[in-house]
């Protein structure tokens, strides 16, 4: 019964009268730009993160800091030195992630082939692939009001599942590869369903149980690699056997160059994104997920089985993380899986899901951005510290997660429906 709800509930008949003409497009657009809606908050978060990154680049460079000490006698020194360090860092990030201008010149001169031009893109897509899948895993759980912190553990189990099927079976690729991928999904689903089942049966909070399961998975991986069953027969360090050739994910751009690592898992990830979108918007299962996520009391009153929804949602979420694991295990090629293969993809999935606001489209975009940052940072080092990529990611997420902060800093207007903050129930 606040003034706002009164206004909005009784509003329609008034506005329909058309007493006020619709403002011109540019005015509407200008209003949109100065409003704290979720699109503009994301855009401003990215911009502000890059500004903060620039400041830190300037501060952390000794030579540039030196020029600032005599700023008032020769300000151009400090400004141009700062510009140089910031622009060169961001340009080299761009060159490592999207397009390298040197390669372009060499291609024009005939010293590089077309595949070399695609290399940065390939690296970005390779890094983005598992992030799309883990982001979807976390995002789907978010929609049911669940916070799946356990994507890392589910990814590890999925990796092991795909690996085992990958080297134990001898079959043609057309059968073997889907089987290995499926094994990864099933292993992830089984591991992911555990916290959902515990929540449904006992009320145990999924955050606590999935964190614990992450530890179990990580330590299980260390032990599993050292077992005779999994350990590489030819190498002494902690590395598993490689999967058979028939289970290796084919490289998408192989004919253009052996160094183009992006493989068929990318298509799998995009297909998963479309599937999750379809599930959420078109299926009764997705309807139930969203209903339970918004209001479990009303859902229960309407006859939905809350506990079962938790368990199945966590299972599907785990399957998506397991697919990410399969993509890693089946994508490494002739090398085996090590304790390092999983990196932090599961945890990064949380930030990807947050940045994508738990929407499949947003998650794909966020994963591509993070993949690009990672690829750019790896290729730009040591000239640009690798931490700058981590820092940018962290700052972006910080702003995204706190729209009120962005709104206050930039003095944006509150949008009609209020600020959108993504949160899991109970936290």
């Amino acid at each position: 019964m606040s003034a706002e709800t009164e206004a909005s509930s009784a509003g329609p008949p008034e506005t329909d009268d058309g007493t006020e003409p619709r403002p011109p497009f540019m005015v509407m657009f200008g209003r949109y730009l100065t409003e704290a809606n979720s699109v503009m908050v994301t855009v401003y978060s990215l911009l502000m993160a890059f500004v903060i990154g620039a400041i830190l680049l300037i501060v952390s460079d000794d030579a540039v800091r030196g020029t600032w000490s005599y700023f008032f006698s020769r300000p151009t020194d400090a400004l141009s030195a700062s510009w140089d360090v910031v622009s060169s860092a961001y340009v080299s990030l761009f060159e490592g992630a999207v397009l390298n201008f040197n390669t372009l010149d060499r291609f024009a001169a005939g010293t590089a082939d077309f595949g070399d031009i695609l290399r940065p893109i390939s690296e970005t897509l390779t890094n983005a692939t598992p992030l799309v899948l883990t982001g979807l895993a976390v995002g789907l759980a978010f929609r049911a009001g669940l916070f799946n912190i356990g994507a890392q553990g589910q990814l590890i189990l999925g990796m092991l599942g795909a690996l085992v099927i990958g080297f134990t079976i001898d079959a043609p690729a057309i059968v073997h590869l889907p089987l290995a991928v499926l094994a990864g999904a099933i292993a992830g689903a089984a591991f992911g369903a555990i916290p959902g089942l515990l929540k449904a049966q006992t009320g145990a909070h999924e955050v606590i149980s999935s964190i614990m399961l992450n530890n179990i998975a990580a330590l299980f991986l260390v032990w599993a690699i050292s077992t005779e069953f999994l350990h590489s027969e030819t190498r002494s360090e902690l590395v598993t056997r490689p999967v058979n050739d028939s289970a290796v994910l084919p490289r998408l751009l192989g004919p253009l160059g052996a160094h183009l690592r992006v493989n068929a898992a990318l298509l799998l990830a995009f297909a998963a994104a479309i599937l999750v979108w379809w599930l959420l918007s078109r299926s009764t299962f997705g309807y139930r997920i969203r209903a339970v996520g918004f209001n479990e009391h009303a859902s229960a009153t309407a006859g939905m089985h809350i506990g079962r929804t938790y368990t199945t949602t966590m299972g599907v979420s785990g399957a998506l993380a397991g697919l990410a694991g399969a993509a890693l295990a089946l994508g490494v090629g002739s090398g085996g899986v090590t304790t390092n293969t999983a990196l932090e993809y599961g945890f990064d999935g949380i930030t990807v899901a947050l940045l994508g606001r738990a929407n499949p489209g947003g998650i794909v975009a966020a994963a591509l951005l993070f993949g690009a940052l990672k690829a750019g940072a790896l290729s730009a080092q040591p000239a640009v510290p690798v931490d700058i990529s981590t820092l940018l990611q962290a700052t972006i997420v910080l702003f995204i997660a706190a729209p009120a902060l962005v709104k206050a800093l930039l003095r944006l207007r509150t949008p009609r429906g209020g600020l959108v903050t993504l949160e899991a129930k109970g936290w």
Binding site: S9, A10, G11, S283, T284, A298, A300, T301, A302, G303
Partner: protein, 566 residues
């Protein structure tokens, strides 16, 4: 204090919430502002209290124009407000809550608990509002919490005008009666009161003058002696039937048979204690009782959300104990939950999605797990037309609808599928006159199609208007089943357990709340014989409760009964 509003207007963009409102509150007067949900009452009060700035127009206090830039200014000018939703800190004591924002401190900012307690006692005694300063807020009944809010508002530096925004929405009948008494005695001691409401009987009972607003405009100035029909018509803007036309019921075979139903809650209290109840096809059974006597649990047990510890529930002669809520819904059980926002709708979902909330997986709305968006939309378009749901489109989130229209969404959902039994819990709570009229006529029509209807309502008026048979619940059991012509006094007596076999309910809390409360407002309430809440109280002296002395004790009894359930 004399308050005058001159041409007060508030616009939100192109929408005018309040348009040129003129209003005068004389000193010591209770001025009721009557209007439907969304009429602009709350906007008006928020302007008065400094929360919103008027677009144009003037507020005059004792003839002087004032401008408020925030509630602080309004408080300083002598205006106190009791919000519809209480703004209390649950775990704090009464004294801590009252001094919130203007803490009594000694040197170096140390809180002075004694001064705070004394301040509460001073205000309490001055206005005859008894409160224990050391009681913890969240442990107190809702009516007492509201008293805290009133004391809080009155303990401003020089509060002379009190704004009460829909103060009775959350109260039990007995608490409502007491509140009205408090209001009268405050007015008699010189405080002006602006009373926002859409409940006609309360306005008639307590107001000195009535202003009706509709769509942001003042449409009528009435005397409280005006008839209910007159007030309702002014509010809604058309003729309203306050009585429901219905033919005698033609009960058929039993639809719902509840036998010996017992539910023990987590605290080990028997919230339902051997309850027996039968609802036949084609009749409305009204379940009367003070809230908290097991009504909620009974409804949840019938739906299958609560598992009974003993007893049986049969629908159409079939024991449903092993059926899930979904199976019971599919078997034709309809349910209108009492807490709309919590159990009835998903406010983030669209109108269309909410209309299929319990059928989303059934044909024609879905096939093989795939939602048929066209069928859902078609259904929404039909329901919006049939049930007159006021929404911009089927794709609006339900949160943007008024309370009455949200309730219509629930009604439409439950009435648009085959059903054999309907459990309607507080179906018109927080719903305005126009929508109430509509819902009542739909319930009667529902009965006439042969559905068995269990109507759970804390408003005796609603029970009388609709029920063919009245069952009274007290302490988790049915203490009487009577016909619809039974006088209010008898039902009121049953509701407070006066004729119940267990007279041990009265002693627990009665000693904590000595009967030094507001003067009994007999004059106001007894003049309006239809005041349903009056019945339990006026009857109490007859009841076998040795320690009951006056209306307060009755109130304690009522809340006691309620507390024991929790």
């Amino acid at each position: 204090m004399r308050l005058e509003l001159q041409g007060l207007t508030k616009k939100f963009g192109s929408f005018t919430a309040d348009d040129d409102i003129d209003l005068v509150v004389e000193p010591g007067q209770i001025h009721a502002v009557l209007g439907e949900n969304g009429a602009g009452k709350s906007t008006l009060m928020n302007m008065l209290y400094g929360i919103l700035k008027p677009t144009s127009g003037k507020i005059l206090i004792d003839g002087e124009p004032v401008e408020f830039s925030g509630p602080g200014d309004a408080i300083a000018a002598g205006i106190g407000m009791v919000h519809q939703h209480f703004k209390l800190v649950g775990p704090f004591s009464v004294a801590d809550n009252v001094q919130l924002g203007r803490e009594h401190t000694r040197a170096a900012g140390v809180l002075s608990a004694r001064a705070a307690r004394q301040a509460v006692r001073d205000v309490s005694e001055q206005y005859g509002l008894h409160l224990d300063p050391d009681a913890i807020c969240e442990d107190l009944p809702v009516g007492v919490q509201q008293r805290i809010e009133i004391v809080k508002a009155l303990s401003g530096p020089k509060t002379e005008l009190l704004i009460l925004d829909e103060p009775t929405a959350v109260l039990t009948p007995a608490e409502i009666r007491e509140l009205l008494g408090i209001m009268r005695s405050l007015a008699d001691s010189g405080t002006s009161i602006l009373f926002i409401s859409h409940k006609l009987k309360e306005v008639q009972a307590v107001a000195d003058t009535v202003t009706v607003i509709r769509r942001g405009k003042v449409v009528a100035e009435l005397e409280p002696s005006a008839s209910e029909t007159e007030m309702a018509s002014a509010m809604v803007g058309r003729e309203v039937a306050l009585t429901v036309d219905k033919t005698p019921a033609e009960p058929g075979e039993p639809r719902l048979e509840v036998r010996d139903l017992t539910v023990v809650n987590d605290a080990g209290v028997k919230v339902l204690n051997g309850l027996d109840l039968t609802v036949h096809a084609g009749e409305i059974v009204g379940l009367a009782g003070i809230e908290g006597n097991g009504q909620t649990e009974l409804a949840r047990a019938v739906l299958g959300l609560l598992h009974p510890d003993r007893g049986s529930i049969a629908v159409d002669g079939v024991n449903v104990a092993r059926l899930s809520p979904a199976a019971r819904i599919d078997a034709g059980l309809g349910y209108i939950p009492e807490d709309r926002a919590r159990d009835g709708v998903i406010t983030e979902f669209t109108v269309a999605e909410n209309l299929v909330l319990n059928q989303y997986r059934n044909e024609p709305y879905a096939k093989h797990g795939v939602t048929d968006a066209a069928a859902v939309r078609e259904r929404a378009v039909d329901s919006i037309a049939e049930f007159d749901i006021r929404t911009q489109s089927p794709n609006e989130p339900v949160a943007s609808l008024s309370g009455g229209n949200q309730q219509k969404v629930i009604i439409a959902r439950e009435f648009s599928r085959p059903r054999r039994l309907l459990v309607a819990a507080q179906p018109t709570r927080g719903v305005d006159v126009g929508a109430t009229e509509f819902i009542h006529s739909r319930l009667i029509a529902e009965r006439d199609t042969g559905t068995g209807v269990l109507l759970i309502s804390s408003e005796l008026d609603e029970i009388y208007a609709l029920a063919d048979r009245i069952a009274v619940i007290y302490n988790g059991r049915i203490v009487g089943e009577v016909g619809p012509e039974t006088p209010r006094e008898s039902i009121g007596r049953l509701m407070v357990g006066a004729e119940a076999p267990e007279p041990d309910a009265q002693d627990a809390e009665a000693s904590e709340t000595p009967p030094t409360d507001a003067a009994p407002p007999e004059t106001e309430t007894s003049s309006t014989s239809t005041q349903d809440s009056a019945t339990p109280d006026t009857e109490m002296p007859d009841a076998p409760t040795p320690d009951a002395s006056g209306p307060d004790a009755d109130e304690d009894d009522a809340t006691n009964g309620g507390d024991r359930e929790r």
